[in-house]
């Protein structure tokens, strides 16, 4: 009797696992898109609340656990602020020079973009830095491939999948992400690749080009999928590739992906 029961259980398990494998194979055919649409439609308001709640709780916890550090940092900042006041005098001249350089480089200032502001409502639960879900989709004119930035024009990723009111954004740090970039200071061209959700690496830079720590990396506009001049990050550590044909570098990301609240999709 027990043997019969256990064999019945095993058969049921095999049946369920077989069905799952069948479902997995159906995924590339986009069979489940209507289910995703309905689910995201129903869950959107709750996801917004959950995500905001989680971010606020996280920030509050960080705030209370770092009160002492904040006090020390505040004193340090007051001192730095005094020093910066002196430096500000020279800033106007730098600003004028910056505008001139932007014109020469053909960069598009942030205000010229047609931006769609949207809230982050979820992210990959398995690994940080892989993808995020936003609360705008097809109904807001968003299509796949559109670049996604944060307020200061820092590129964070591209729209990968679009549903009616939500979209999945693949982040630059995802291992699937590759973009064309150049060094703002030295004009060196290369590609920035995601490093398994952990960071960014600059690759394929010719040995003749210069790479310096601290240089800004911006999108080059090559390939036409991304606009020119979006900040990607800063070079941390230049190094020569193993085959000694190219050089590369690790790139510091200026944004903390786990704390993203509002992002902007570039529509034009």
């Amino acid at each position: 009797m027990t043997h019969k029961l256990s064999s019945k259980k095993t058969l049921r398990l095999i049946f369920i696992l077989g069905c799952c494998l069948f479902l997995v194979f159906l995924n590339p055919k986009k069979v489940f898109n209507p289910f995703f649409e309905i689910f995201f439609k129903l869950s959107l308001p709750f996801q917004k609340i959950f995500y905001t709640l989680s971010q606020k709780t996280g920030n509050t916890l960080i705030f209370w656990s770092s009160l002492n550090e904040i006090r020390e940092e505040n004193e340090k900042l007051i001192k730095e602020n005094r020093a910066l006041l002196v430096e500000t005098a020279g800033q106007k001249e730098l600003q004028r020079e910056n505008e001139e350089l932007r014109k020469q480089l053909g960069l598009i200032p942030g205000k010229n973009f047609s931006l769609e502001a949207s809230f982050v409502i979820g992210q990959n639960p398995q690994k940080l830095g892989s993808w995020i879900l936003i609360d705008k989709g097809e109904n807001s004119g968003i299509t796949t491939g559109m670049p996604v930035i944060v307020s200061q024009g820092i590129l964070i990723g591209k729209v990968e999948e679009v549903y009616a009111d939500t979209a999945k954004v693949i982040l630059l740090t995802d291992s699937e992400s590759v973009i064309n970039v150049r060094d703002l200071e030295t004009e060196a061209k290369g590609v920035v690749r995601g490093k398994f959700g952990l960071g960014l690496v600059l690759e394929m830079v010719s040995q003749d080009d210069m790479l310096n720590a601290g240089d800004s990396i911006i999108t080059s506009g090559l390939g036409g999928d991304l606009p020119k001049g979006l900040l990607v990050g800063k070079i941390q550590e230049p190094k020569v590739s193993l085959d000694r044909i190219f050089q590369g570098a690790t790139v510091a990301v200026p944004v903390k992906y786990s704390n993203l609240d509002v992002v902007f999709v570039i529509k034009n």
Partner: protein
């Protein structure tokens, strides 16, 4: 009917919570597997026959909420549920405390299976080998710890909910 609606709402919100609450409070890598913990609890306390339908539904909801390959989480949860059922049949313990600690052991084992198999499936489906190699001991340890905390938090409410409806049904039968 009321029971079904409550359970449907519970798995809907837990699957959403697993996707939208991670990141802020805890890093995604160590955020508890809310649905997996609930599934192990259900199976070891109420039996697989009674709960497998709900576990498959929960896996489907989790796949949808995470925007992942549909079938992946159903596969993992069904496998963990049947493993839990098999071992809970072999290791019968009397008393509430004994059951509680046995369930904790199942959850710890379930976390490990979920991590290893989840990453293996990612390796097979997305060909992302590095993520498999990233199976960090510290991360798994913390995840297990938070899974057990979540289990302790839901133990009494879920138990109470199940017993309320179960007792009601028995009373109606009499």
């Amino acid at each position: 009917m009321a029971y079904n609606l409550i359970i449907l709402a519970v798995i809907f919100f837990l699957s959403l919570g697993q996707v939208s609450l991670s990141g802020g409070i805890l890093a995604p890598g160590i955020f508890p597997d809310l649905i997996m913990v609930l599934s192990v609890f259900w199976v070891s306390y109420f039996g697989i026959e009674r709960k497998i339908g709900w576990i498959v539904t929960a896996g489907f909801f989790l796949d949808l909420a995470a925007g992942e390959t549909v079938g992946k989480n159903i596969f993992l949860l069904a496998l963990i549920a049947y493993a839990t059922s098999y071992f809970s049949g072999k290791l019968l313990l009397s008393g509430e405390a004994g059951k509680f600690f046995l369930m904790m052991a199942f959850i710890a084992a379930g976390t490990l299976i979920n991590e290893i198999l989840g990453r293996t499936l990612t390796l097979l489906v997305l060909n992302d080998g590095f993520r498999f190699a990233l199976l960090a001991g510290r991360e798994v340890f913390l995840k297990t710890f938070f899974n057990l905390i979540f289990f302790a938090l839901i133990y009494f409410p879920v138990n109470k909910l199940e017993k309320t409806f179960f007792v009601q049904k028995e009373e109606i039968k009499i």
